[in-house]
């Protein structure tokens, strides 16, 4: 909570540093128009830009709390609450899919790499991981999207559909962005899993487990992976920011109507109430995912318990 509040102060203060006149942006949009001075003053009044900073901040935070999210978009006049309602699920689903996909693919691969250390499966997996880690998400996204058009003359559908409306179209439109987004996180998870597994496998309790005659799979998963997952979780928590940063650019490239693309559009049109609200939401999402990883800790690590 204090973290969120502080983030809100930061966002608010940055947005008030706008050198241009927000009122002009409201009036102008784009095109060939000119404006009167009184008209600008009127818009300033309407937007509350003439109030003291503290009052403006208080209004804004209150509107965040009561679900108003700072009123309306300057650009489309849509209420920000409805923008959030429309765009947030898209980003939430995309990040969720990407996290699931990267976990499902990279943790087993990490275990395999650790198990076959310094043999060809290990080298292959590490090479893929290094490559995946090195190509910035947006470069990969462009090359994949535009490459597919050239090579197989296919591109994802252009009109987004929610999974509950049209699951098939939804799947076809989110497939590519999910894969691209998962690459970066997956590569990081893979590397950490491998490293952690190697560490764990060399420790006494694994040797004990093996000597007790337990099956290799049980040793690996029940004993090894469970402990190795802790650093994996720590790193995933740290990677969430990068993941969401990637999602911002990805949504713009793939035309997914999520908060990332909404944010980029709002920035280019200086739709500052929307920029503020969406930035707040992204921060909230980062904190929420971090909180979730903290909770997972409790389940995975036998030593930690929130009761104590």
């Amino acid at each position: 909570m204090p973290t969120l509040l502080l983030a809100s102060v930061v966002i608010f203060l940055i947005m008030r540093a706008v050198p241009g006149d927000v009122a002009l942006v409201v009036l102008g949009g784009s095109g060939e128009s000119t404006h009167d001075v009184e008209q600008i003053e009127r818009v300033r009044e309407e937007l509350g830009l003439n109030d003291p900073l503290v009052v403006q901040y208080g209004d804004w935070v209150w509107s965040l709390v009561n679900g108003d999210f700072g009123g309306r978009s300057l650009e489309s006049r849509e209420s920000i609450a409805s923008i959030v309602g429309r765009q947030f699920p898209v980003t939430l689903l995309l990040t969720f899919y990407a996290i699931i996909l990267s976990v499902v693919v990279s943790i087993p691969l990490g275990v395999i790499a650790a198990k076959t250390q310094d043999r060809w499966p290990d080298y292959l997996i590490r090479a893929v991981s290094v490559a995946g880690q090195s190509v910035p998400t947006f470069v990969l996204a462009l090359l994949v999207l535009l490459g597919l058009v050239v090579v197989i003359e296919w591109s994802p559908p252009i009109i987004y559909a929610d999974p509950w409306d049209d699951p098939i179209r939804h799947a076809r439109i989110v497939f590519l962005p999910t894969v691209v987004l998962a690459v970066g996180l997956g590569a990081a998870l893979l590397r950490i899993t491998r490293g952690a597994m190697l560490e764990v496998l060399g420790q006494d309790f694994i040797r004990t487990a093996r000597s007790k005659g337990l099956g290799e799979r049980v040793v690996l998963i029940r004993h090894g992976l469970r402990v190795a997952l802790l650093p994996v979780l720590t790193v995933s928590g740290l990677q969430v920011g990068a993941l969401l940063g990637g999602a911002v650019v990805l949504e713009s490239i793939f035309g997914l109507p999520g908060i990332g693309r909404g944010m980029v559009q709002a920035v280019t049109s200086r739709d500052y109430p929307v920029v503020q609200a969406l930035a707040m939401l992204i921060v909230f999402l980062v904190l929420a995912i971090n909180f979730f990883t903290d909770v997972l800790y409790v389940f995975i690590d036998p030593r930690i318990s929130y009761r104590s």
């Binding site: 204090p2 973290t3 969120l4 509040l5 502080l6 983030a7 102060v9 930061v10 966002i11 940055i14 947005m15 008030r16 540093a17 706008v18 050198p19 241009g20 310094d118 290094v130 880690q133 090195s134 190509v135 910035p136 947006f138 470069v139 462009l142 090359l143 535009l146 050239v150 590397r191 490293g195 190697l198 560490e199 060399g202 650093p231 920011g241 990068a242 969401l244 940063g245 990637g246 911002v248 650019v249 713009s252 944010m263 980029v264 709002a266 920035v267 280019t268 200086r270 500052y272 920029v275 503020q276 930035a279 992204i282 921060v283 980062v286 904190l287 971090n290």
Partner: protein, 311 residues
């Protein structure tokens, strides 16, 4: 406590700091081939950036419309763009932009984070608590999101990206410096220094700071990577380095938005440059962490004893 051992500890603290960056290179090369490769690429980049004017074969801004969209060849190593500007020279100068943004922002962030973190650890109490909350708030921002917010407020410019990265990264460095400074604070040589009647700032600057910086050094390549990607992404979105300055992100945007088929070299070379840079930073980061941070070291890495106890 006598003065004699105090001075010994002091010397040890200073030595640890000096020894740290000068890692025995032969070992690194043998044990960490990827890290060494990364280091080589990074050095090459630094050379490109420093001697861009000498290395570039053409003026990166010089237009030659009669030679527009030439494929890579002996005249134009990486081909030319829509204005007939030489892509090779632009990529070379782009290294300067990338490294400028990366190095300046990381250097400032590390310095600011170090001062804040150590001061917070040293003074403790309410200041520390306040500082912690503040860091928490800033830590929650993905760098790119913060950069976007800043771009919305201040407009598109290289220095706004630098500022955004500084704001996003400083909390990480500050947090890390603080926690290691806290453990350094327990060390005897700090007590010794204080017992010798050293001023707080003297203790902080001369003793705590150098010793608390190790984990930050480990983090630096990762921060550099973040900064370079953020600049490229912002420039790609048209919110970063303004034209005509060559930036890899903007070159990528121009290349993919209209020339991917007619002139693919406009996309491939900046993409390659960016990927190599990220690769090098991330490999250096991995190697450094394995070497300097024993907790993450895998079995094949250095034994902690080989590096020497840093703390």
């Amino acid at each position: 406590m006598s003065v004699e051992p105090g001075q010994r500890y002091l010397r040890r603290g200073a030595k640890a700091f000096i020894r740290l960056p000068v890692l025995r290179s032969a070992h690194v090369l043998r044990r960490k081939p990827l890290g060494a490769a990364g280091l080589a690429v990074m050095l090459a980049l630094v050379v490109l950036a420093l001697f861009a004017d000498q290395i570039a074969t053409h003026d990166p801004l010089g237009q030659d419309i009669d030679n527009r969209l030439r494929a890579p060849g002996s005249d134009f190593f990486f081909g030319t763009d829509s204005f007939g500007r030489d892509t090779f020279s632009r990529v070379v100068h782009g290294a300067r932009v990338s490294l400028y943004v990366g190095v300046v922002s990381v250097a400032i962030a590390v310095a600011a984070g170090a001062v804040l973190g150590v001061a917070s650890a040293y003074f403790g109490g309410k200041l520390d608590l306040l500082f912690q909350r503040f860091v928490d708030g800033l830590m929650a921002f993905p760098t790119l999101v913060l950069a976007l917010v800043l771009a919305a407020a201040l407009g598109a410019a290289a220095n706004n990206v630098v500022l955004a990265i500084i704001i996003a990264v400083t909390p990480q460095t500050a947090r890390l410096t603080r926690s290691s400074a806290l453990s350094v604070r327990q060390e005897m040589y700090i007590d010794a220094a204080e017992a010798m009647g050293a001023q707080p700032w003297r203790v902080i600057v001369l003793h705590m700071l150098p010793n608390a910086l190790t984990p930050v050094v480990v983090l630096m390549p990762v921060l550099l990577e973040q900064a370079i990607i953020a600049e490229a992404a912002m420039s790609f979105l048209g919110l970063g380095v303004p034209p005509p300055e060559p930036s890899w992100g903007r070159m990528l945007q121009e290349g993919t938005d209209g020339y991917l088929e007619a002139a693919p070299w406009l996309t491939y070379f900046p993409a390659l440059a960016l990927t190599l840079t990220v690769f090098s930073a991330s490999m250096i980061g991995d190697a450094l962490r394995d070497i300097l941070d024993p907790r993450f070291a895998s079995r094949s890495a250095f034994r902690p004893a080989e590096v020497g106890r840093v703390r």
